[in-house]
Homo-oligomer: 205 residues x 2
């Protein structure tokens, strides 16, 4: 994140800031595990950038929320929002701590990667082959989280990373998707990405 | 969790404890949001029970890990495990803080529920109708996370809760599933649970 963003950033409402905070915290945890799994410092750096953005969002949220309270009842409701925002920020700080382990170049015990690979939700790299049905389609069209159970948390395109790609993100041949899901669902998406399976979800080819 | 478990608990390895800690932290965050969304104190209590279990697991992990280090290199690797375990415990503590908001009976601003309902991963209640294809089948057979993109984090059966049901859990008519997924995937599973859609994933009827 660049310096000037702090001044340009104009949040629209407490609700929008809050939703963004929740989404960012979840993305940060996923990316932190991915950075550890792949030993990737660029992903870890992104986690720390998101941590800064989270601080900024929490600051804006607090200012907006405090202004919004005009009586005791509203003040109590606002307090609950701030408590929840702090819990969300704690989660994002924990994700930041995980990312720092990668940036500090700590030698990681094999058990660490095993835990990430063998827990219920795992993270996997999925390489998109040029003849996959994924090529040329957006994440919004493909609805991968719904159709395959895999959430795409990041994409590596050539040497560039795209983090938390949105529904308008269009997949290209040779993209490397970083996905979160069950073992089975990640394997299933790999077959689609390799071009072996030609349908995504219930759609017709 | 009952008192005596603390003494009976015999973890098998650092790896197993670590995987359980990661799974529990994820379940706790999901359940904490669910407790807020539904204003449900029983779910919130479970989050606090899991927080106690997490403390115990972290204690066992530390003891095991410290014993395992026999030289400087191993000590460094063990330090990384303990750092990661602490970050995971921070996440579980944040989930505990969220659950406490429910137990303290804080009046929650509408924005809080909106944030949980409108973020990328949402939580929903899914009622299983007696004529749904889900009835009588286990979560392991159904592979709902893979086939529908919905993770079942809890089930209400009559007045009883089952939290973090495993693959052997068999769905019964009138179970209320608490699922996490995209809007679309939760809606899709609702159609299956209502008996409107008769297939789960790519299987044949």
């Amino acid at each position: 994140m660049e310096e000037h963003e702090e001044f340009e950033y104009q949040p629209k409402s407490v609700r929008e800031i809050f939703i963004e905070m929740k989404n960012i915290a979840e993305l940060m945890v996923d990316l932190a595990y991915a950075s550890i799994l792949f030993g990737d410092k660029e992903i870890a750096e992104e986690v720390l950038d998101l941590e800064e953005r989270m601080d900024l969002l929490n600051y804006h949220l607090t200012t907006h929320a405090v202004l919004a309270a005009r009586n005791v009842r509203e003040a109590e409701q606002v307090t609950a929002i701030l408590q929840m925002a702090n819990a969300i920020e704690d989660i994002s700080n924990a994700a930041g701590d995980l990312a720092k382990m990668v940036l500090e170049g700590l030698e990681l015990h094999p058990v660490i990667k095993e835990a990430i690979m063998e827990s219920e939700e795992i993270i996997g790299k999925i390489v998109v082959s040029p003849d996959s049905v994924l090529v040329g389609r957006t994440l919004g069209e493909l609805k991968l989280a719904t159709n395959t159970g895999v959430w795409i948390i990041a994409v590596k395109r050539g040497r560039r990373w795209i983090f938390g790609p949105d529904k308008d993100f269009r997949i290209r041949a040779n993209d490397v998707l970083i996905g979160k899901g069950t073992h089975t669902s990640v394997e299933h998406l790999r077959e689609i990405a390799r071009g072996v399976i030609r349908v995504v979800g219930n759609e017709k080819t």
